[in-house]
């Protein structure tokens, strides 16, 4: 029986791997993928907590459901924006998409 910490550490590591990808890679679609990784990490943590708490069982899963839905929505929009930008500019490098600056 694995202790709770193991799951949490897993979630942490997964989260920061995704975080590094978000900060370090240039392609915007890849960044979106890494965001999904981070969301997964969160989900793991939530389910783990939900599993290990005597009362409040089931709450974590409910939360995860909502995260699924919102993650899907977010990916859809994000990719739509990325594709629209690509059409405009033929570039997907995040450091080249810096028009909104001042």
């Amino acid at each position: 029986m694995t202790p709770l910490q193991h799951y949490l550490i897993l979630a942490t590591v997964l989260f920061f791997i995704g975080g590094w990808g978000v900060l370090a890679r240039r392609n915007i679609i890849l960044i979106i993928m890494c965001i999904e990784l981070m969301l997964n990490a969160i989900n793991i943590a939530l389910v783990a907590f939900s599993n290990y708490s005597p009362h409040g069982a089931g709450l974590g899963e409910v939360f995860v459901f909502f995260v699924f839905a919102l993650a899907a929505a977010e990916v859809a929009i994000g990719l739509a924006v990325a594709i629209a930008q690509y059409r405009l500019r033929e570039k997907l490098g995040v450091d080249e998409l810096h028009d909104m600056r001042g």
């Binding site: 975080g19 978000v22 900060l23 370090a24 915007i28 960044i31 995040v94 450091d95 998409l97 810096h98 028009d99 909104m100 600056r101 001042g102």
Partner: protein, 633 residues
Amino acid sequence: MKAAVVLIPVLPLVSFMVTLLLGKRYFGEKSHYLPVASVAVSWLLCMFLLVQVERGQTLDWNAYSWIAVGGFQVDIGFLVDELAAVMLLVVSTVGLMVHVYSIGYMHGDQGYYRFFAYLNLFMFSMFMLVLANNYLLLYVFWEAVGLCSFLLISFWFPKLSASAAGTKAFLVNRVGDFGFSLGVMLIFITFGTLSYAGVFDSETAVGGGMMTAICLLLFTGAVGKSAQFPLHVWLPDAMEGPTPVSSLIHAATMVNAGVYMVARSSPLFAESETAMLVVAITGGFTAIFAASIGLVQNDIKKVLAYSTVSQLGYMFLALGVGAWAAGMFHLVSHGFFKGLLFLCSGSVIHALSGEQDMRRMGGLKSKTKITYWTFIIGALAISGAPGFAGFFSKDSILAGVFHEGYYLLWAVGIVTAFLTAFYMFRLIFMTFHGEPRTDPEVFAHAHESPPSMTAPLIILAVPSALIGLILGLPPEDGHIDNLLHHVFAGVLPAEGGHGFGAVSALLMALSATIGLGGIFAAWQFYIKRPQLPEMVKARTGAMYYILYNKYWVDEIYAAVIVNPVKWFSGVLWRFVDDAGIDGFVNGAARFFRGVGKALRPTQSGRLQAYLFTMFIGALALLAAWVLLQTGQG
């Protein structure tokens, strides 16, 4: 009677507003009808009031409660007593004559309607000033007439010298008005009220010093308004205004406001010997000072201007020695003949198509007969020729001064009388007699003025000649003395009249002789032996130079006051406003712009930089929260 009192100022006020608003578009050349009519009606009402007052009916009426704040109560109130009635006589009569005169004089001027509107505004203000029954109302309309004076002096404002003269008048008056306002404030502090009745009948014991202070401050206002030394400098410059203005405002009415105010405040002044002495000395000095300058001036209006200053000095001299009725008498007669003299000079200027320099006049006698003869009457009046108005009024002043024991001032007065006669007839001879020195073309064109101008001349010549006889006989106990006795009852000198004894007769003979002597001397200088002026000038070169340059009073003021103030303003402008305030405001702007520029690189548009910052921020918050939790727990 109340209705009359209200209508007298209100009619010109209404006329002013209507003329000003509608005159340009609707009245045009006919703009004079309403103003003249309103002043004519006011004149009738003033005559009515005079009759009522002669019968002994006076009025002190608070018409409208204007300010009632705590202990401070001021009403719009009217006081009609003998003093006011006498002033009204002069103001309304000369005012009406000037209005009629202006029809001809200002004919064709672009601002025709504006001129009459301003004249009416002035009449309103002057009437209210005379009729006011408290010091605050007096002060308000004191300022109002100053405003009208400014508007009318700079009537031809496109001309730079006219605008400058108007500004000068206003500013110099302001100096006097400042003192005046301080005096009014002191009155309130001391007496708790500002109404004449309240102040004069007050039983408050006032220390001598305080009373002197009040009187001197009030007097500074009079010095400014009535152009006494050292605030006389604005009056000669005020000649830039149209001649009717010079006649009305700067000879017959506004400049008399100072005299009127001092006379009105006689109960206060009588309590302070120092103040009375200051008034008398100022008046006497100004009289001879101005007369000496007028001796050598070449502009016809400037001579009359300095003459006005000098005669006002006489009035203050009278008031200062306690000869109140004499001072007022001279005010009345001077108002008539000086008003007349100015209008005559305007007629001369009109005849010579604008020429004002007497060195280019001469020989006008045959061409402008009416002007000539009315001018002569006015000149005789002012010179104190026996029988004319000036003789009686000036003599009663000099007699009063002598009898009070101010022998030095009496001597000053006598010398001034001589100078007055001299410069007046110098003016007459240079203008009307001898060979014409004018440009031949102009001289050929010279003609008598239209009836609208000569009628007022004739009408004003009558009182100039006769008012002395009406008001002044018998001497020192004449009609005017009796009339004003009621007003000045409390302040007449203790001896209560000195009768017409031998001394008085001698004095009268002396002043008559002096006056005629002045005329004779002028005749010698300018008719009989015309080389005399040049000779005297050559002999007394320096003296002539000083007089001609008006003792350089204007220049001294410019150097000592005006230029330092300008310099200081420049300093303030450069250092306080430009560098300081602007620097501060601009500096603030620059500061914020700098901050913005420093912070702008954070808005790089680079997504990952933002994300990084957010990441770090989120983690920092989390860490802080955790630490807080563990800290508490």
